[in-house]
Each structure stands twice: as C-alpha cells, then as structure tokens.
Amino acid sequence: MYAQMVKSTGTGVQSLDEMSPEDRAFQERIDAGEKIEPKDWMPDGYRKTLIRQIGQHAHSEIVGQLPEGNWITRAPTLERKAILLAKVQDEAGHGLYLYCAAETLGISRDEMTEMLLDGRMKYSSIFNYPTLTWADMGAVGWLVDGAAIMNQVPLQRTSFGPYSRAMIRVCKEESFHQRQGFDIMMKMAQGNTQQKAMAQDALNRFWYPALMMFGPSDKDSVHSAQSMAWKIKMNTNDELRQKFVDQTVPQAEYLGLTVPDENLKWNEEKGGYDFSEPDWEEFFEVIKGNGPCNTDRLAARNKAWDDGAWVREGMMAHAAKKRARKMAAE
C-alpha cells in the first residue's frame, strides 16, 4: 500500500449506457476479467491514474530503502545484516520492475524520478517516520510490509497486465520480508528487558502510521469508485485496514506486546476488532511534507541523484564513444 489517495480523472463512474462505444468496450473487457496490455486502447484517465499509482508505488520502494538502509551498517549480527541487505536489495528490485510497468504507459523512469525529486509525485507517508532502534527493523517488516501485502495481494488480480505481473513477483518477496520482521520482533520480545522495551516502543510508534498506510476512508470517494470500476483498486481502504487490524492484533498478543489503543476490542457481531482511527490531521500534514523525515528523505534522494550525475553522464559518454568506434570500424 504504497499508493495513497491516488486521484483518478473524471467526475464519477458512468454506467455502461452513458459511455462512448470505446469506453464501453473497454469496461466490458475489464468486467469480463480480461487483462489490459500496454498496446491495447485505454481511456486517458485509466492511463493517467495508473501512472500516478504505479509511480507512487515505485517511488515508495526507492525511498523505502532509506529507513532500513539506516540500520544496515549497525545490524547486530552478520546474519541480520545479510537478511536486511537482501531485503533492501529486493525493494530496489521492486522499484525497478514497477518503473518498467509504468514505462509501458508512456512515461520514462527519468521523468518519474524528476517528479519525485521536485515533489510533484508522492511516496507512501510511512517512510517519513524515523527508524530509531533495531526493533524498528522488526516493526517495519512486520507492520509496514504486512500492510503493504494486504493491498498488494489483491492487486495481483488488477486489470493492467504489467502491473499485475509485477505484483505477483513483489508479493512473493514481501511475504518473506514480513516473516523476517516478525522474527526480529519475536527475538526481541523474548529477549532481555531492554529488548522488550525496544519492541514495545517500536510498536507504539509504528502502529498508527501503519494504519495510515491504507489512506483515509474512501467509501464516498469518486476517485476510488472509478479506480475500483477499472480494477486498479480492488478493495476500499476501510476493508483493508480492518483486515490488517484483525490479522495483526493476535500476532501482537502472541509476541506479548500491547497494541497502543485503549479502544481496541473484539466485536463479535462484525467478526472483527473495533479500533481507534489514526490521527488524520497528522496524516495530511505528513502528505503535505511536514512529517518527521520528509525533508531528510527527499534531500537524501536529491543528493544521490545530483552526486550521481557525473556517473550517469560518464556512462553515456562511454556508450557513445563505443558506438562511434563500432561505426568507424564497419
């Protein structure tokens, strides 16, 4: 759920009868469960919404390297260091195939990168929170990847072929990520007093930001309705958030940790937990750029891009020289 509050274009979902013949044929393909491929005709709004959504997802994978990369050099054992490196490498790989999926819609990776760097495109709010102790590596894997999986598993069935295929690959790796996160939490929850305190503190800090990952309630949103009709969004935010809470609370109990919500209570009638909403005012501030780490995260990405300019230019210059030499030889 690395895409939040993606705006679709248009003003609402039209009925089949209201649609143009092209739009109608397109919608009927989607309703029949067919996959849309890059060369197929598609409404402009479908293309634009997907670029926003996939781009935001890709950017989240890239920025998401930073809070975890923050602990690679301090990982407490060689094995933990290796696992964390593998995980962050996976995330960069996810970014790569998501950018490739977006590129099939007619936008380049460099264009998307520029839009991330100057703030025109967003990434998930969650990566604007700091990772302060080793337990945060556990919490990020367990809660953040756990929330991401909630959204990405249904997206394997999304209507756009390249996105669906990317999600299938991503999901395989994400479930490994979540397990390693839970494993870190378990080691710490069973550890000494300090380790237990660290684990609880990480849960306290990441619980509400993880709930925010699903975005505010969208049951009345025209954008979400359109995205759901196009099958580029498969569930409402509230459905996914409920599912996440229902799955995670027993895991927290198993770990002997306390979910920081006094209103958390099993509701027999609905067959799920009642729980407190996160502070949506905080969420909107983070989205606007006023979260704890927004400035640092974007500065780090901008620095990497700017410092790397000579490398990219050097590589291009070399490739051009090689081509020229080859031409001269022919």
Binding site: L78, Q89, V311, G314, M315
Partner: protein, 257 residues
C-alpha cells in the same frame, strides 16, 4: 627477524585475513544503500555487499572453529578491537565518490579472484570449499567493477578525471596484497595458501589491460603501505567503521538478536 609461527596460529591469522577483508569491504559497500547514482547500481552494490557478508560468515566461522575457544563468527566480527583486525588497508578506505568506491572494488576484486582461484587448490579441504564457492561471486564482481572502471575512465572528461584521482589515491594500498611475513611462510609450506608475491604478475597484467582500456595511467610505484594484514598499523578510518558496526553488540552485551 623471522619469527616461527605455529601452523595453527598461522591458519587462524590467515582465516582472519580472508574474513576481515570481506567483512570490512562488505560493510563499506553497504554504506551506499539507497544512495547510488542509478537504481541498477543500488541493486548491484547491495548484491556485492551481500556476497561479501556471506563469505565473511564462512571465513570467520571457520576461524572461530580453528581458534577453539567456543566463539562464533559474530563474536569475531563484533567484539574485536581495531588492532585485532587483519584486513588489507585498501578495504577500510572510505567510499569517497562512486568512482573511488568502484576503483577500490576493482583493485580488490582483481587480487581476490587470483587469491581465491589459488585457494581452490588448498591442502585444507575447508578452505578449498569456501574458495570454490566464493570465486564464482568474486569473478562476477571483477567483471562488473572492471567494466565500470573502463566506462567511467573512458567516459566524460569529468568521469575520467575522477577515476584517475581515485586510482592515484588508492594505488599505494595495492602493494600490501603482495607482502608476506612469517604467517605466509608457514601457510605456503603447509600448502594452505599461495605465496602472495606469486600473484603479482597476473594481477599487474589485469591492471594494465583494464586501466589501458579505461585510458587511465598507473601512478609511479611508491612504497607499499602495509599494516592492515598484520594488524600493526591500520588507518584512522577503521575505528570509526567499527564504532558503527559493533555498536549494538557493545551496547547490549550478551543479548541475542
């Protein structure tokens, strides 16, 4: 003055030399995570670091076993102080810019491949097995680092200048790879490891070929800077690296993670 070194003592030192090289270089490379010039390089650097940490687990795991004090690879990685480390000075040098990181990697890989290839013939089966597994990774690392050195050396004016500066800065640390001491004498006699000096000719050939393609000039030979592989005088950089790397184990002694 040649000190006699027992075979066990020499073997342990040798394993530290191998494992500390990959540990320290793996750590340095991992510092790049999320900050590389392009996404493909983020992936490649993480992958290189991961291979190095994997090799470290094997070398230091065997070192701990040979030492016979009930320690683990983690104990050796996280609970020794700088003077106990036996890595080449080259690998503890700071990352600098991307060019310096890749030049350091290339110089190391060019030696590492030769060393590992020779070690596949070691009389010690455990060493031969680790080397056989590692040499595949190291060969891939060398292909990649050499390719990058060529591309950036023979790239733009700026990339050429930066790569030349990186080579000039790092070259004095190359000589240490081929120095030998009493530990090496014992290892060579036991057929465990090659004489370091025996790798020099092929190393120089690789360097001449790659740097030629990269249009870079080998600096004038200067006195080899040693002190890493025998632990006599590391650079000031190592202590800071260890401060970060060992912090968790030092701050929470005895905790399991």
């Amino acid at each position: 003055m040649v000190r006699d070194v027992s075979r066990d003592e020499a073997f342990y030192e040798f394993l530290l030399r191998m494992g500390d090289n990959t540990l320290i270089l793996g750590h340095r490379v991992s510092e790049w995570c999320g900050h590389a010039p392009v996404l493909e390089e983020d992936i490649a650097l993480a992958n290189t670091a991961l291979d190095m940490i994997g090799q470290t687990q094997m070398w230091l795991g065997l070192a701990a076993e040979v030492q016979g004090e009930g320690k683990t690879a983690d104990d050796l990685a996280f609970l020794r102080d700088a003077w106990d480390f036996r890595n080449l000075l080259l690998v503890e040098m700071p990352n600098g810019d991307f060019g310096q990181t890749l030049m350091r990697q290339f110089l190391f890989d060019a030696w590492h491949v030769l060393q590992l290839r020779a070690l596949t013939q070691s009389t010690d089966e455990r060493v031969a097995a680790i080397a056989a597994k590692s040499v595949k990774e190291a060969t891939y690392h060398l292909d990649r680092s050499a390719e990058t050195v060529v591309a950036l050396g023979d790239g733009s004016e700026e990339s050429h200048a930066r790569m030349q500066a990186a080579l000039d800065y790092l070259y004095p640390y190359v000589g240490e790879m081929f120095l030998s001491d009493a530990v090496d004498t014992t290892l060579v006699e036991a057929g465990i490891a090659p004489d370091p000096a025996s790798l020099r000719a092929e190393f120089d050939e690789t360097l001449a070929r790659v740097l030629g393609e990269a249009t870079l000039t080998l600096p004038e030979a200067r006195r080899a800077r040693g002190g890493g592989r025998d632990g006599k005088m590391h650079t000031e950089h190592l202590g800071h690296l260890l401060t970060t790397m060992q912090w968790m184990q030092r701050a929470y002694p005895g905790a399991t993670w």
